[in-house]
Assembly symmetry: none
Amino acid sequence: MIDVEELRDCYTKTPSKIVLLVADGLGGLAHPDTGKSELETAYTPNLDALAQESACGLTTPVLPGVAPGSGPGHLALFGYDPLKHQIGRGALEALGIEVELQPGDVAARGNFCTVDSAGLLVDRRAGRIPTELSRPICERLDKIELSGGEVDVFSVQDYRFVARFRGYNLSAELSETDPQVSGVEALMVKPLRPDAQKTAAMVNEFVSKAALMMLEEERANMLLLRGFAKMPSLPPMGEVYRLNPAAIAAYPMYRGLATVAGMKVIPTGRTFADEVETLRENWDKHDFFFIHYKPADAAGEDGDFDAKVQRLEELDPFIPAIRALNPDVLMVAGDHATPAIMAAHSWHPVPFMLNSKLTRGEGVPTFDERACALGAIGRIPATSVMVLGLSHAGKMNKFGP
Amino acid sequence: MIDVEELRDCYTKTPSKIVLLVADGLGGLAHPDTGKSELETAYTPNLDALAQESACGLTTPVLPGVAPGSGPGHLALFGYDPLKHQIGRGALEALGIEVELQPGDVAARGNFCTVDSAGLLVDRRAGRIPTELSRPICERLDKIELSGGEVDVFSVQDYRFVARFRGYNLSAELSETDPQVSGVEALMVKPLRPDAQKTAAMVNEFVSKAALMMLEEERANMLLLRGFAKMPSLPPMGEVYRLNPAAIAAYPMYRGLATVAGMKVIPTGRTFADEVETLRENWDKHDFFFIHYKPADAAGEDGDFDAKVQRLEELDPFIPAIRALNPDVLMVAGDHATPAIMAAHSWHPVPFMLNSKLTRGEGVPTFDERACALGAIGRIPATSVMVLGLSHAGKMNKFGP
């Protein structure tokens, strides 16, 4: 698997333009009644027409058999080895609500929970308390002052929040406070390395001050912290690939992932139609665009086969609008499969196609798992997608003399 | 990707014989009018007949999307990880004219150039001065004596030459003198690491003495040096694979690459017919033969689709002569694709076939990109070719107990 910097000397700047359309959770598995996957079932004449003129294949997100989260799924497509550049849960949670993490900040995923009078956990999710009730608590906790640094508390949804710790020389090498079972006390944070001692003390100070503040709450009278993480520091895509890359995504987490990779995030609306319009308006300003389509993944995660088929059919009509911009390279990829019959992310190889003037005669009849498996590109690691895009766009010099 | 030494304990000596026929620039892309690649267009009944009895596949020279130069393209086929064993431009240029590089020697690719009276570059290629005029200058420069070691100057062609520096403890970690633009002075060589200081001084001494000697020349009145490199030191194929390997190549660069890999180079003539005759004459003396066919690549680089088709058709009649020697394994491979529509090396996977008594029933109808994509071998890194050849020839023991 290639990592972003390995071929650094090959990348070269040209005016050509690349579009990477990521259909989240694109791949699927056959429905037991029909033997056809979501993509095989969907009526997608524009994706199929594109596949006929494209080089097609399947991408392996991380490694065979490994189902990735959104973080590694996208980082791989951007060319970063997802085993080498890992994003912790706290950092991803922060990205998901666009909480800024500066270098050195430590973020944790927080749960409100319910404890009894003896301090033993009764409900690790505080009865899934709604956001209207949890947000005011977050606002109060946000005012907590710590001796070793600062803490900020951001409401996510229901019983979930993000705690961001900021200070000098903090470490994310901390044990979690969630014991994962009821009937016991929440754990103290322990340093996992000697230099994390100060941060552990700071987090424990936050937890005890917060517990005091929540004493009178009925359900959310305690909190649990896990997934302590800093934002990984990645070599920026623009610098490494010699691109001026932009991201267009309706969902905050994907904007966050693009930011981590060093892309410029262009503000857009809430729908994919908004995203395509944003692409059109900004066409002259960048040479690489990552544009994200979310709905297919959500339907897959819900286990709703028909809805996922429909979401794919709703993507299809936008293909001509993107092609009309005449990109030198148009790639359609997925960060991972989300087979509706699994109602979860999966490890299955994901259909991929790359269209450029150098892919004539390499097409397959339809854009789906089975046809792409026979495509000219074959099976490649997702980390090779960027390199393929760059080379087809004339943005890569020969390797070696 | 496997590197040559990783399976060292598996290789075993047997009398069986392997032929690796490398058709340079073998792979291609479809012609826009016909939708057929060069191989698909060419009438190659002997290659097709061989494909029907062979295991077929596609090789990825370096990594998906990476177009290799001749150096990494061939090293990969010989089993060396081309990312790990890199050949610098100066070293490859030296190989191309069979200039011997001993361990420790530093070679540079040289250009004659034209400067004006103020020393500013007017033409970085000295008006592409012909070899008749540049060779005598090389002969004069070759006599330059340096305080820190020796320099030898070898004419290549037109305005190009090779400078070889020899001395104690030289380093190739030097900046280049070619500023890549006109209107400025040639640069001084700078050491890129502290231990390269002595070599930098030596090279600068050469450049200033040479400039004085060329003062009266009309066009070639200055020189530029780039691609400082030592010859990489590779584990010799014969020792690692327990082979007695030989190379037969009409073009010097490929003889040089074979020498770097530790093969014995057998003198041959200028045509592929000469090479096949050399193979026949030396059949009893070696157990591994690398035989190189150049013309298809040259036609591809010229962007001449029809000529490339013809060069492939001219290779075809030699296949029966090679098969008549009854090799235990016959492999036909390419170091990279050279699609005529690109007029350049490319990154596309390259057709590959391996014939042995262990590949019956594994064939595909024709030897081309599309058919090989569906072959029994699938897509493999080019670095796996040697291991496949050795195992099919019974030259590899089981890995692990």
